[in-house]
């Protein structure tokens, strides 16, 4: 999956949430999408997911325009919002089976079991999503996208209320995706965490792209660019 974003803009009424954002993300890229509250991160993720239409610009998935692509193209895009997008009155297993069918992915009961086992929900697979704790719902969200294997995965504050082992689970999932040639974009305020996983960082501020660089070591340009959004005297590594 090669993702290209050209001059993307989104306005809500008279308010521009996103202005002239361009990105070029080759396969295997794991992008940290950072910025202060209201910078336009979630708007960008929703545009990339096709949940909202852009006011201007275009999004190309492997060269084809997302807005003109058939519905089938959406099966290549995943949106992980921890604990959301799950039916409360379906069991953990039914949720996975339903979405696998909806995404036209043939998954055997054994595969569903295996994914539930990986996220530590095998014992609770027959419980309704409503009966799961918030942390477990986050795990179920991860299980969903592990099963559906989208080529482009968008994550909005993926750490949610995950505990230590949940964070490990998420991070190993994201690392695996990077090696498989999929594109991952995650918006989060856990800067140190997402930077340890990413191959590129992008900073949005007031709807504009103010920083876009491949990961370096050391990364002074990032430290300077992100420093202005941190409380006085604080570093993103702390």
């Amino acid at each position: 999956m090669h993702l290209t974003v050209r001059h993307l803009a989104k306005a809500y009424g008279l308010l521009w949430a996103l202005k002239d954002v361009s990105l070029d993300l080759p396969p295997g890229e794991v992008v940290a999408l950072l910025g202060p509250n209201g910078a336009g991160k979630t708007t960008l993720l929703k545009l990339l997911a096709g949940m909202i239409s852009p006011t201007g610009g275009e999004i190309l998935l492997d060269g084809s325009n997302l807005s003109q692509s058939p519905n089938e193209r959406r099966s290549a895009i995943g949106f992980l919002a921890p604990g959301e997008h799950l039916y409360e009155n379906l069991t953990a297993r039914e949720n996975l089976t339903f979405f696998a069918s909806l995404y036209k992915k043939r998954r055997s009961p054994g595969q569903v079991d295996a994914v539930l086992d990986e996220v530590g929900l095998q014992q609770r697979s027959k419980e309704y999503a409503a009966a799961l704790s918030n942390g477990m719902k986050c795990r179920l969200s991860i299980a969903k996208w592990k099963l559906l294997e989208p080529e482009l995965l968008l994550l909005d504050e993926p750490y949610g209320v995950l505990d230590g082992s949940g964070v490990d689970l998420l991070e190993s999932f994201l690392k695996d995706r990077g090696t498989q040639g999929s594109v991952t974009i995650m918006a989060s305020h856990h800067v140190a965490r997402v930077l340890s996983l990413c191959t590129r960082a992008v900073i949005l501020h007031q709807g504009k792209l103010t920083f876009d660089e491949a990961r370096q070591q050391p990364w002074d340009s990032f430290t300077r660019a992100y420093g202005e959004f941190l409380p006085h005297g604080e570093s993103w590594t702390s």
Partner: protein, 225 residues
């Protein structure tokens, strides 16, 4: 085939959720029968006035009961942003429209199966032989109600006080269906056949076909709007 599979998948999911929550159907049954009892105590339906009054009273019950169902139609999707999850998927929006229409239709038919005979029993009506014909006409009217109702339910999905707004928008647009259904039922109750109500039947079928097709074609814009 794939389109039908999607409809079947979404419909099964909605029926399973309803089976577990038992919110819409129980509410509709209760409200439908309650209305019949109110009518029973309010009106003296003598045999000479059956053709004149029964269709209107029955449709009043169906309209109010159906509106309750419509208000709950997307409730399963509202929690946890499940509607977003559906819209993110490669599912055809037309399939979602038909599945929701089908689900609402099934609920209403289940209510009608109880309400129509109960109406006949409560009002002590003897003309049981016309009930199957009335039921067929009611089904056509129900399709029109569900098709338009599902479309408008999606339109008002993000509106504040949607439970109040929905009937305000829906009822005026339902006038052709209500009129056509009532005229057809009236003709059957008077003469045992459609007779001069055939043009009303054509209007009813035409309404169903036009709005069903329109719904499938425009639902993506409606639901994403």
């Amino acid at each position: 085939m794939d389109f039908l599979n999607q409809i079947s998948l979404l419909l099964k999911k909605d029926l399973l959720l309803e089976l577990r929550r038992r919110e819409s159907l129980l509410l509709m049954f209760f409200f439908g029968t309650l209305l019949l009892f109110v009518f029973h105590f309010s009106f003296d339906l003598v045999p000479e006035r059956v053709a004149e009054m029964a269709p209107g009273l029955l449709w009043l019950a169906f309209l109010f009961t159906g509106t309750l169902g419509l208000a709950q139609l997307f409730e399963g999707e509202r929690g946890n942003h499940c509607l977003d999850a559906l819209l993110l998927s490669p599912m055809d929006r037309g399939a979602l429209f038909l599945a929701k229409t089908g689900f609402n239709f099934i609920l209403m038919v289940l209510v009608e199966i109880v309400v129509i005979p109960l109406f006949w029993i409560l009002f002590n009506l003897s003309s049981w032989d016309v009930v199957p014909y009335l039921f067929v006409i009611t089904l056509l009217g129900t399709i029109g109600f569900c098709v338009l109702g599902t479309l408008l339910s999606a339109v008002t999905l993000k509106a504040r006080a949607r439970e109040l707004l929905l009937p305000l928008v829906l009822f005026p647009l339902m006038i052709p269906v209500i009129l056509a259904t009532i005229r057809c039922m009236e003709a059957i109750l008077r003469a045992g056949e459609l007779g001069d109500a055939v043009p009303w039947l054509r209007l009813l079928v035409g309404f169903d076909v036009i709005f069903l097709t329109t719904g499938v074609l425009i639902f993506d814009r409606v639901i994403e709007g």
